[in-house]
């Protein structure tokens, strides 16, 4: 069995190379890449400065003209000067040293960007995942136990509805219905925490985004020595961390940094309600049906008949004998969790404008920021590969009948 897992790990290598090589080659050969975009940007700025009358640019920098030399420099900057296979090998070598390159748009190491965004996605995805299991497992069990009853039929309708609305679509719909845009104004409509200003806080009058620190009265500025004159006030600025909290539970109107710990947690949770609901909705139908079917299958087995024949109560048979076995497919789903979470995040983070992993990937694609795109592909596919192995491993551990060879 161990040889099986070793082989699986070894198989990861060609898989990884295959995926990244494919995407790497595509990014090379299709026009509209970063070099062309840089040339376009350059030409635009030159055209603009030309209008302004600044004629002091160098002789080879005529409008819209780019010299051979500059083109080569540009290509070297974006790593397009080598032949694609050599470039790929170099890139792979750097990836093996955990260096994913530097982002073209942010100008920062891709690894830092991903590490920065990852926890946000994980918080959302994980809470959605846990919540969906907390709802789906009992519901599936109850549906299986009461198979054919009114409860089963009515919850089946719910499952059908959840199956027919992709989670992120429901997100758009709920944002419109409840987010204070067209109908009700109940839930916050984006971001991870409140950026609004608490009217009762002392700085409230001055915490308008965009106001200058220099505008603050002297006595208030004394309390915040970290503020510098030329700074623009931003209600999320760390300098306002210690603003005394007057009303801790004013979630909708209070600034996040105005609140105490409990308040902050509640505030974050309140802001996470809609996105997490979307994650749950996305997994709800499949998990419930899986749980129900697997328990139903086990309830028809001979060992359940035996257990009933022994005279055990229905409760014992279902919860001690059948349920344990039927949890196996659900438990192995844990392995796929991470990749599932990431797959959902591209759409849901776009809808709710959550500044996470998925949004980073989406924006890097829009901006043709290939180092970030490839970095996200690397992380995504690694997680998926590991997830597959973990789920196999869990299968082995939970179900001793299964022997991989």
């Amino acid at each position: 069995m161990y040889s099986y897992f070793i082989r699986r790990f070894l198989l990861m290598i060609p898989t990884f190379i295959g995926i990244t090589l494919l995407c790497f080659i595509v990014t090379r050969y299709v026009p509209g890449g970063p070099v062309e975009q840089a040339v376009l940007r350059y030409q635009q700025t030159m055209a603009n400065s030309g209008e302004g009358g600044g004629g002091s640019s160098g002789s080879d920098m005529q409008q819209g003209q780019i010299s051979e030399e500059m083109m080569n420099q540009l290509k070297a900057i974006y790593g397009f000067d080598k032949n694609p296979f050599e470039a790929y090998l170099r890139w792979l070598w750097r990836v093996l040293h955990f260096d994913l390159g530097t982002s073209d748009t942010y100008g920062r190491p891709v690894w830092d960007l991903i590490v920065e965004k990852f926890p946000i996605s994980i918080i959302f995805g994980l809470s959605g995942f846990v919540l969906s299991y907390l709802i789906c497992i009992p519901l599936g069990v109850w549906k299986a136990v009461k198979h054919g009853s009114a409860f089963d039929t009515s919850s089946s309708i719910l499952v059908f509805i959840a199956y027919s609305i992709p989670g992120w679509t429901a997100g758009v719909l709920l944002l419109m219905l409840l987010g204070g845009h067209a109908f009700l104004d109940i839930v916050p409509s984006g971001n991870k925490e409140s950026g609004f200003i608490n009217e009762s806080s002392r700085l409230a009058l001055f915490l308008q985004d965009g106001a200058q620190v220099a505008d603050l009265p002297e006595e208030i500025r004394k309390e915040f020595p970290k503020l510098r004159d030329n700074q623009t006030i931003n209600s999320n600025h760390p300098a306002f961390k210690h603003v005394p909290a007057d009303k801790h539970f004013k979630l909708k109107t209070g600034s996040h940094s105005d609140l105490c710990i409990v308040g902050r947690v509640l505030d974050t949770m309140w802001h996470m309600i809609l996105p997490v609901f979307c994650y749950v909705l996305g997994m709800f139908a499949s998990s419930t049906v899986l749980m129900k079917n697997s328990l139903m299958e086990n309830l028809g087995q001979d060992y359940v008949r035996t257990a009933f024949a022994k005279g055990l109560s229905e409760r014992t048979v279902i919860f001690k004998h059948a349920l344990r076995n039927s949890l196996i497919p659900i438990a192995t789903g844990l392995g796929h969790m991470l990749s599932l979470i990431l797959a959902g995040s591209y759409l849901i983070e776009k809808v709710f404008n959550i500044n996470g992993f998925g949004l980073l990937g989406y924006e890097s694609l829009i901006a043709r920021d290939y180092p970030v795109t490839l970095g996200i592909l690397v992380i995504g596919s690694m997680l998926k590969l590991f997830g597959n192995i973990v789920s196999d491993f869990l299968y082995c551990i939970i179900d001793p009948r299964i022997r991989f060879s």
């Binding site: 295959g18 198979h147 199956y163 992709p166 719909l173 008949r305 990937g361």
Partner: protein, 504 residues
């Protein structure tokens, strides 16, 4: 079927060869357009090679596969399952409903189109739907497609004028000719708006326009654009209470008062502004002033045909490869299985996003991209079915009487292992519709003016205060997916008879 094919094999092959050659030849310039344009002789040679390859290798497999599908469908076990399916009313009616809707949507050009079906002008009949007629032909300005809705109004006005002249006795030469020609008319479609047609010239105020039956919203927009003829003097409080019977209006600001009066329908529009009809745009217009309802219907057609095509090609490849893996086994099986495993470890959505973002595909390219990354699912099931069926007695018997591999695969095993194909297809369709809508929503789907639900949802996310942009695609998608999943559920119940026996 296969017998008929054998009988006319040469004839069919010649015909198909010619057709395939013509098809490839007509496709060639598109392929060549990117880089070097090949000369016509090289094009002809390449297309001939492609056509011959298609005839020799692909066509027999397709015909044999079709034949085994026919055998699968005509087998008594399928008939029994089908009659079981017919008893599941919800799925059965959903099946016919979705097929009916799809067929109707295939003829959407006849029902929902800015182009008129037929026009009679100067005694001549023009079938405008099938043949482009320039506006100049009908005495309108411009060389493009005429605005048939406007033309209908113009014809009506002219006919009325003519009738009046006839009554008054001041008949012109043209009027005398019209007695011979008969009256002009335009036969518009049921819902005369095209999905791609921007209606900015026809509708006042800025897009997106609300559905026209929400008259209050329209009136509000008209007030914002000052399209009402305001009275010279504000009504006095006495007038308000006496004439309008609205005492709560007495203390309003003038602007508010005018708004209220407009919403109550008490103000006149300026003469040049035309009030839209009550059900002119039943779902409003989108942010470029295109009719939402017509985009929804065309979007339904595109989504469903896209999903069906992707499912079909995925299954074609999946079945072929799965069958080969299961039947031949050995080293080929091991290597190919590893390959399938590697291929299916790709993060699907992101890879497709990368490809679509970089290539900016058209409809068929997008189908191809999705097929390339989605064909693996069916191979597992077909391979398992083949492994199981291969060891059955009837296969040994077939081999003993000297059947070839092809005959065993296509005539014996395949018809017996198509059940998973049928029972998974509806769910694959659901998944593919979802994938297309997601890609369109992110902006990596079909190119810009194509009517699609996802693009509309994306617009809705940008205009969260315009509920019709969000509600219509969401509801349409919800209903379609619900119908398809009803069908899928019923098919699964009929074809995958898992008897859940509760023992106690």
């Amino acid at each position: 079927m296969i017998e008929t094919y054998k009988k006319y094999e040469t004839l069919i092959k010649t015909l198909v060869l010619f057709l395939a050659w013509a098809a490839f030849y007509s496709l060639m310039p598109d392929i060549g357009a990117k880089g070097v344009t090949p000369s016509y002789t090289t094009e002809a040679i390449i297309s001939l090679v492609l056509a011959v390859g298609f005839i020799v290798y692909i066509l027999p497999i397709l015909v044999a596969g079709l034949d085994s599908f026919r055998m699968f469908i005509t087998s008594p076990i399928f008939k029994r399952r089908w009659s079981k399916f017919r008893t599941l009313k919800r799925g059965y009616y959903a099946f016919w409903l979705i097929i009916g809707l799809f067929v109707v949507s295939l003829f959407a050009e006849f029902l929902i189109n800015g182009n008129a079906i037929m026009v009679k002008y100067h005694g001549e009949y023009h079938f405008t739907l099938f043949k482009f007629v320039s506006a100049r032909t009908f005495g309108m300005r411009g060389y493009g497609m005429p605005n048939y809705r406007m033309m209908k109004d113009v014809f009506k006005v002219r006919n009325n004028e003519r009738a009046e002249r006839l009554k008054a006795g001041t008949v012109t030469d043209e009027d005398r000719q019209y007695e011979k020609w008969g009256e002009d008319w335009v036969w518009l479609t049921l819902y005369p708006y095209s999905p791609l047609e921007s209606l900015l010239d026809e509708l006042p105020t800025r897009p997106p326009h609300p559905p026209t039956w929400l008259t209050g919203q329209w009136r509000e927009a008209y007030v914002g654009e000052s399209l009402y003829n305001l009275p010279d003097f504000l009504p006095t409080p006495e007038e308000i209470t006496n004439n309008f019977k609205r005492p709560d209006w007495v203390n309003l600001e003038p602007a508010q008062l005018y708004l209220q009066m407009a919403q109550a329908g008490m103000l006149e529009l300026k003469p040049e502004v035309k009030q839209p009809g009550t059900f002119q745009h039943i779902l409003g217009t989108d942010d470029r002033g295109r009719d939402v309802f017509s985009r929804m219907v065309y979007g339904f057609r595109i989504s469903l045909s896209f999903a069906l095509l992707v499912t079909f090609f995925c299954y074609l490849i999946g079945i072929t490869i799965g069958a080969m893996l299961g039947y031949y086994g050995g080293k080929f099986d091991i290597i190919m299985q590893r390959f399938v495993e590697i291929w299916s470890a790709m993060p699907f959505l992101y890879t497709v996003m990368i490809f679509a973002a970089i290539m900016i595909p058209n409809f068929w390219m997008l189908v191809l991209i999705l097929v390339v990354f989605k064909w693996m699912a069916m191979t597992y099931y077909i391979r398992a079915e083949f492994l199981r069926e291969k060891s059955r007695d009837y296969v040994s018997a077939a081999r003993a009487i000297g059947c070839t591999d092809g005959a065993i695969i296509f005539r014996h095993i395949l018809p017996n292992s198509l059940t998973p194909v049928i029972s998974f297809a509806p769910f694959a369709v659901v998944a593919n519709i979802g994938a297309l809508v997601s890609l369109d929503f992110l902006g990596f789907g079909l190119p810009a003016p194509t009517p699609s639900w996802g693009e509309l949802l994306g617009q809705g996310l940008g205009n969260l205060t315009k509920p019709w942009l969000i509600l219509s695609p969401t509801l349409a998608m919800f209903l379609t997916l619900l119908l398809v999943s009803f069908v899928g559920e019923a098919i699964r119940e009929a074809f995958d008879p898992k008897q859940y026996s509760r023992l106690r």
